[in-house]
């Protein structure tokens, strides 16, 4: 079996104030993903290595890390693609709890801040059946409903790096998912949240968030479309201050 060096950027707050690197040499084959490498280390070499994982099929969103400096789901990248060895670190721009485990509190707060639930002036009783929605209407927001909350986009976002009060790509994509849903009437409430911070205006067209997104959610598109909508609302608000058409 071939061998590969996996260098892990570790952090152990109880014993050392600073992060440190540790390299493990392990056997691997063509089918092993980076996460399998970490599991090999944990099972056979060093049980103290800490990281999150569960589904190993790219849908639970737990195992995002920096892999050779790029934000990746470690269950979705293969060791064979790093024949020179691989460096694994915690996601950039987040406080680290331990080894590869980052603090998610800020991310979770931001998801909630955009009110990611159905807002309607009048609720239809369930007994009256579903809200009809055509496949085309579903298609308008489907892509933005695919986010697995892996937070790779925050690790790649230059605006979030500079200013952590920026609400960020995943949260804006989530807001957009609800805004674009034909069953929804909460756009104004979400616009207040998203438009209240200048972060969204600082977002350039870099689109790093969409590059790293493992589910092709394209948060950059959601951000640009939200900007257009906010601008339109603002102009309409000036022209017709008594209410938009």
């Amino acid at each position: 079996m071939n061998k590969i060096d996996i260098t892990v950027i570790r952090y152990d707050p109880e014993n050392s104030p600073a992060p440190f690197e540790q390299t493990y040499t392990i056997p691997y084959d063509d089918e092993m993903v980076v996460l399998d490498g970490l599991n090999y280390i944990k099972d056979h070499v060093d049980g103290s290595l800490s990281y999150r994982w569960s589904c190993r099929m790219g849908v639970c969103g737990s195992c995002g890390m920096m892999v050779n400096g790029e934000a990746k789901l470690t269950c979705a990248v293969f060791l064979k693609d790093y024949p020179q060895g691989v460096q694994v670190g915690p996601l950039d721009h987040f406080p680290v709890i331990r080894d590869l485990v980052i603090e998610m509190d800020d991310f979770m707060d931001k998801l909630r801040a955009v009110k990611p639930w159905m807002i309607r002036e009048q609720e239809k009783p369930v007994e009256e059946g579903e809200y009809l929605q055509s496949p085309e209407e579903l298609q308008l927001f489907r892509q933005f409903s695919m986010c697995i909350n892996c937070a790779l986009c925050y690790a790649a976002c230059p605006v979030y790096a500079a200013d952590q009060t920026f609400i960020g790509p995943a949260a804006i994509a989530l807001a957009h998912r609800y805004d674009m849903d034909s069953r929804e009437e909460g756009q104004d409430q979400r616009a207040k949240v998203i438009g209240s911070h200048e972060g969204i205006w600082e977002c350039s067209f870099v689109g790093e968030c969409s590059v790293v997104c493992p589910k092709h959610v394209d948060p950059a598109a959601a951000i640009q479309r939200s900007k257009v909508q906010l601008t339109k609302d603002h102009i309409l608000g000036m022209l017709w201050p008594w209410g938009k058409s």
């Binding site: 152990d12 707050p13 109880e14 014993n15 089918e31 944990k42 099972d43 056979h44 049980g47 103290s48 800490s50 990281y51 999150r52 994982w53 569960s54 589904c55 190993r56 099929m57 790219g58 849908v59 639970c60 969103g61 737990s62 979705a76 709890i97 331990r98 080894d99 485990v101 998610m104 979770m108 998801l111 909630r112 009110k115 990611p116 639930w117 159905m118 609720e123 239809k124 369930v126 007994e127 059946g129 579903e130 809200y131 009809l132 929605q133 055509s134 496949p135 209407e137 579903l138 927001f141 489907r142 409903s145 695919m146 697995i148 909350n149 989530l174 609800y178 849903d181 069953r183 929804e184």
Partner: protein, 569 residues
Amino acid sequence: MDALKCDLLIVGGGAAGLRAAVAAVGVQPDLDIVVVSKVYPMRSHTVSAEGGTAAVLRDYDSHDLHCFDTIRGSDYLADQDAVELFVDTAPKEVLQLEHWGCPWSRDRDGRISVRAFGGMSVKRTVFASDKTGFHMLHSLFQHSLRFARIRRFDEWFVTSLLVDDGKCVGVTGLDLATGRIQPILAKSVMLCTGGGGKIFPFTTNGNIKTGDGMAMAYRAGAPLKDMEFVQYHPTGLPGTGILITEASRGEGGYLFNREGERFLERYIPGKMELGPRDILSRAIISERQAGRAFEDRHGEYVHLDLTHLGEKVINEKLPFVRELASKYVGIDPVYQPIPVRPVVHYMMGGVSTANDGSTPLEGLYAAGEVACVTINGANRLGSNSLTECLVFGGFAGEAAARHAQSTGLVDSGRVRAAARKEEQRIEQGFLHREDGTERISGLRGEMQTAMEKGCGVYRTRDSLLETTRELAELRERFADVRIDDRGKVFNTDLVAALELDFMLDVARCIAGAALTREESRGAQARVDFPERDDEQFLHHQLSLISEEGPRLETQPVTITRWAPEERKY
């Protein structure tokens, strides 16, 4: 030792747990509800469910037909009053989730779409592409965020139930971020922790599915029911066990052997690829034994062929299947058949509950895969389990909330002492012990091998006795377990040891119940007792804790309108 307190404590934040939390808010808007989970809720294993969720929504369908399909699928071991309640409530729950935003796939006229599924006589499986569980979980989670009274303790590992004077009065929890172990006291406790596929070596289940809730209930004296029934899904990817959804057959996929035959003709000609999972998994194994399977370094497999469906259908209805097959086995199902083999997927058994989710232990409730009501009996039909999480999660959440309204918090010296004892068990038994020699992964691997070898698809008295013996030996060796990690902060090594501890108990219950059921029914296939035996075994088996391991009792099956008959398709 500080104690945290709430009215209703829900352990687990998957579909059942979140549905229960929202239902509890409906009972009393200012109820203090805590959802405690060892992961963030959106990581819960509901997320991996793909194919769909069953409910009678069409005029051509009927209550009785869904009931009959479910009962026949269960090989007549489902409790028929529970099935009727389930089928009755399912449409309302699916529509409710639609109102909460779930992006169900739609027909041209805007109605919720339905697709065919194994063992279902008509199209009644509602779906969101082939990521149904993912969308249900995220919709429920996002909906739950609007309720400030639902507090969350994310990444807390619950280690035991606190029982006082015959009542469940709370749990002990390990806060992963700090390593602190604390009692969380509650008027009602509800388990929604899912199944335990990780007891077996080859499973569709995520790493977190370690039977925690089942083991904790068992240790607290609550009975586990029908533990012998473990479902093998017929189509997992070789090597990884990644699930290839039954919807790929529901949409028209075929299974082929090495000789190019649609071999199900031999086993279930009336249903073919839309047969129930127990029969299809056994058919694939029979093909292997007859030398008609393919083989590579991951073992023997058959082909799931979707190529005739065409790229458009695959992209619209099965995009995740295409993504998974392409990424993990290098096969594009538009052009090539997918290699598949049976894989451990689901536990029909679990904590025995009444239809309202209550257990024989006062104050303790359960719903979802961890529970056994049972609508699944000896074999669950695909797409009934997500609906089960909604229906019985809802009922149990309401019942647990009402129980919380009717009783007080128990915060006695005895309870505090029990919590301190649990803290000592973990700190002295695991964290601070210096002399352990057994690696967690070694013991876990041996347990998994023993379970597959002796307690897999086919079982015999001898194989089950051997597995039971091996499990007893592993339990002894576990006393000598070593953990590498002595830290308090996010100690996943400690969690893995505690999970293995749970799995060893659940494994014992599975093997024990399989041994005493001397018949073949649903997922239990005994080579030495190949026939179903209603005379002797048309009953549930309850596993209760005792000094010598699980002690078995029987409980009658509730039959309402469908008399047991030969299960024919």
